[in-house]
Amino acid sequence: MGETVARLRRLLRQAEVVAYYLAVAPLLALLPASLAYRAACWRGDWTFRSWPDKRNEVVHNLREVLGEQLSPAEAERVARDVFRIRSCEVIDLMLLRGRARSLAKLVEIRGREHLDAALAEGKGVILCSAHSGSYLCAFSLLHASGHPVTTIGRWWWNYPPGESSAERRIWDFVYARRVVRHRQRPNIEPWPGRLKVAVQAASALRGNEVVTISCDAPPLEAERARTTEVTFLGRQAGLLPGVVTLARLTGAPVLMAFAHRSADYRHQVLDISPPVPMEGETAAAFGRCVTAMDAAIRENPAEWDFWFEPGDLASLGLVPDVPHPAAKAGDGTGRKGELQQSSR
C-alpha cells in the first residue's frame, strides 16, 4: 500500500515537472522578467513545501557538508533557495529563444576581457566551471555573443539503464535542444569507451574555440582509477583532473567561470577569472581549479546542483554512501523527480 502511494506521488511529481518544462515555463517566459521569475520562485516555494522528503534531504546534505558554515535555520533558508533557483533556471532556459537577447538583458558577463585576451593567443580557451548556477545557459549566452563555445559534458538522461527512450526524447526536446542551439558543436560526451573525446576537445581548441568543462562531476565507476585526491568542501574528494591534461597537451589557458543569481532571482552574473597557472604537479595545478570551485560554491551554496543528488555527493566522497532516511521515502529522488539541470 505504502509503495503504491509512493509510486503515485513519484508519478505526480514527474508529471508536474514535465508540465512545468513543457507548458508553464514557456508561458511564464513570455511575461515581463520580474513576473516570470517571481512566479518561478512561487513554484519553487510550493515544491519546497509539498516535497518534504526532498526538502529534508537537501537540508541534511547541506548540514552534512557545510555543517560549520550553516546554522540549522540558515540551512533551511538555503534549501528553500535551492528549490527556487532550480525553478528559475527553467525560465533561463526558455529565455534562450531566438538570439537569447531576453536572457542577455539579465546576465552581466564580468571578466570578458580575460576571455578575449586568452583567445588572442590563438590556442583556444578552456572555461572550467562547476555544476553551479545557470552555467549552461550562461555559456549559451557567451556563444550567442560571439565566442564559439563547445561543452564537454554528459547529458545524464542519455544512458542510465532503465531510462525510457520517451524520457530521453522529452529531455532532449525541452532541455538539450535549447542549450545546444547556442553551441559551436554538439556536446562532447565523455562516456567510458569513447576514445575521441579529448581529441575532439583538442580539435575545438586548435580552432581557437572556447571549451567548457565542469570539474566537480562525480566520476563514473570506470573512471575512479584516474581520479586525483583533492580537498573539496572540507573533505578529500576524488575528481578527474582531465582539464589539466587537456590544457597541457594543447597549450590552452584555463579560466574559471561561475554563474550566480542576484537577490531578485532574475539578474545574474557570469564571473570569468584570469588564467589559472597550470605549472607544477597535476594535483597542484588541478588543486587551484578546485579551490576556485570550492570558494564559488561556498559563496553561493544554493546554486550548486548536487545538494539535490545524494548519490552524486556520495560519489564525490562528500557524504557517506548511505541514503538519508528521506531518500528512502520513495517520493522520487532528484534525477527521477526533477530534471537534473546539468550535463556532466
Partner: protein, 89 residues
C-alpha cells in the same frame, strides 16, 4: 617503430606495472591503458615524432588497440604519403 611506440606507451601511459613489459600485441583498450586523454597524448606524440597528422576519422579502436595496430596504421599513412608524393611528382 614498434620499439619507439612501445617505449613511449610503457613509460608514459601504462599505470599498472603488472602489464610491463608491454607486448606489442597486447590490447591497450581491454587492459585500460588507453582512454580518451591518453589517446590524445599518444596522438600528440605520434604527430610530433613521425611528422604526420592523425585525422579524426582515423581515431578508431582498430588503429590504436595495440602497438602492432598503431604501427600498421602509421605504415599505411606513410604509404599514402609516398603514394601522394609520387602522384604529384
Amino acid at each position: 617503430m614498434e620499439a619507439v611506440i612501445n617505449d613511449y606507451i610503457s613509460r608514459e601511459l601504462v599505470q599498472d606495472a603488472s602489464l610491463l613489459p608491454l607486448g606489442n600485441a597486447t590490447s591497450l583498450l581491454e587492459t585500460g591503458v588507453l582512454d580518451s586523454l591518453s589517446l590524445l597524448r599518444l596522438v600528440v606524440f605520434i604527430q610530433e615524432r613521425f611528422g604526420i597528422t592523425v585525422d579524426d576519422v582515423d581515431l578508431v579502436p582498430e588503429h590504436f588497440d595495440s602497438v602492432d595496430a598503431i604501427c600498421a596504421y602509421l605504415r599505411s599513412r606513410a604509404g599514402e604519403g609516398a603514394g601522394q608524393a609520387t602522384g604529384r611528382g
